[in-house]
Amino acid sequence: MNVSIFNYFRSRDKGSASIAKERLQIVVAHERKQRNQPDFIPQLKRDILDVIAKYVQVDQEDISVSLDKSDNCSILELNVTLPSA
């Protein structure tokens, strides 16, 4: 009895607006990061995926490619998550 009343107030306080805000924060942060990447990164990512897929089964989301610029050099970071088996 007490629990359901408690839940009622909790669900009001965590309305759909707070879900909207969390989802927006994630997608906007992701898109801002991509915005500052050079145009060739998406194609590079697809090419790398094609090569790796010759050997193991991987998906687009198992690969992350990013370019970090510092003062006098750029570092291309490549992360591939391989299936455990």
Binding site: G15, S16, R23, Q25
Partner: protein, 269 residues
């Protein structure tokens, strides 16, 4: 030298044209010579909102293609001194606007106007790009809703990287957030993103909050910019936003739920 202001959003139907009409009218009311340009080629609408649809003879594209002079195409508002409208063309040719053409017209208008408002079409294609390219300031019209906020963030990205100021390495385009169709009751119930939520995400200064209001539809039905309706909360909120744009400090209004009287609470209205 005029200040060029783009009214933009990415997403359609959020209130750009309503806001361009209201803010342009407000600036003219405060004594600044102002022109509002409709960049929505093929989907002209500012003329209806400003009640000058029957007075359109030449349009923006005619002037760019030198079939008419600016003086022939500019429509002088009948209600407010210092206010002019340059209507969009209804051509289906989406490439009718060119960067050089737009630049030439803006330069010519700059000689005699204080403010040039560019009412952007939706999207991030050519029309929207040209509307923002020459901007000194941008009013980013946003509804408290996920897709609108995300699209606004993309437009802010474009302003920061693809505008003339960004390309030339000049001082960045001034950014102003205009939150429209805001419903304080729904925000209080946790159903709608709040002012703080949207500010947290977009991280640009707030110019104004325009409440969701029936008077906006009534205004567009009649072709009277809502800012001319002294009884409308949306109209008053636009007037406040114009004053803030001109540097005045004005407290935000209509952002809390209206206190319902006991009788209205009992009878549910």
């Amino acid at each position: 030298m005029a200040k060029i202001i783009v009214i933009t959003s990415g997403k359609g139907g959020v209130g750009k044209t309503t806001s361009a009409a209201a803010i342009g009218t407000g600036l003219a009311q405060q004594g600044h010579k102002t022109v509002i340009i409709d960049f929505d080629v093929g989907l002209r609408n500012l003329d209806l909102i400003m009640d000058c649809e029957r007075r359109v003879v030449y349009d923006f594209v005619n002037v760019i293609e030198k079939d008419a002079t600016l003086n022939q195409a500019l429509i002088k508002d009948k209600r407010v001194e210092n206010l002019f409208i340059l209507p969009a063309s209804q051509t289906k040719d989406k490439d009718a606007l060119t960067l050089e053409g737009v630049e030439r017209i803006l330069a010519e208008l700059s000689e005699s106007f204080d403010f040039i408002l560019c009412d952007s079409p939706a999207g991030i294609e050519q029309g929207a790009y040209l509307a923002l390219y020459f901007a000194d300031a941008a009013v980013i019209v946003t509804n408290p809703e996920v897709s609108s906020v995300r699209d606004s963030d993309r437009i802010i990205g474009l302003l920061q990287s693809k505008s003339r100021r960004a390309e030339k390495g000049e001082a960045p385009v001034e950014e102003h957030l205009l939150l429209t169709r805001y419903n304080p009751e729904r925000v209080e119930n946790g159903e709608m993103l709040s002012i703080e939520d949207v500010k947290d995400i977009l991280a640009i200064p707030l110019l104004g909050v325009i409440p969701e209001s029936e008077s906006v539809l009534a205004a567009s039905n009649k072709g009277i910019p809502v800012i001319l309706n002294d009884d409308s909360n949306a109209g008053k909120a636009y007037a406040d936003a114009v004053s803030r744009f001109l540097g005045e400090e004005v407290k935000h209004r209509f952002i809390e739920p209206e206190k319902k009287s006991l009788l209205r609470r009992v009878f549910g209205r």
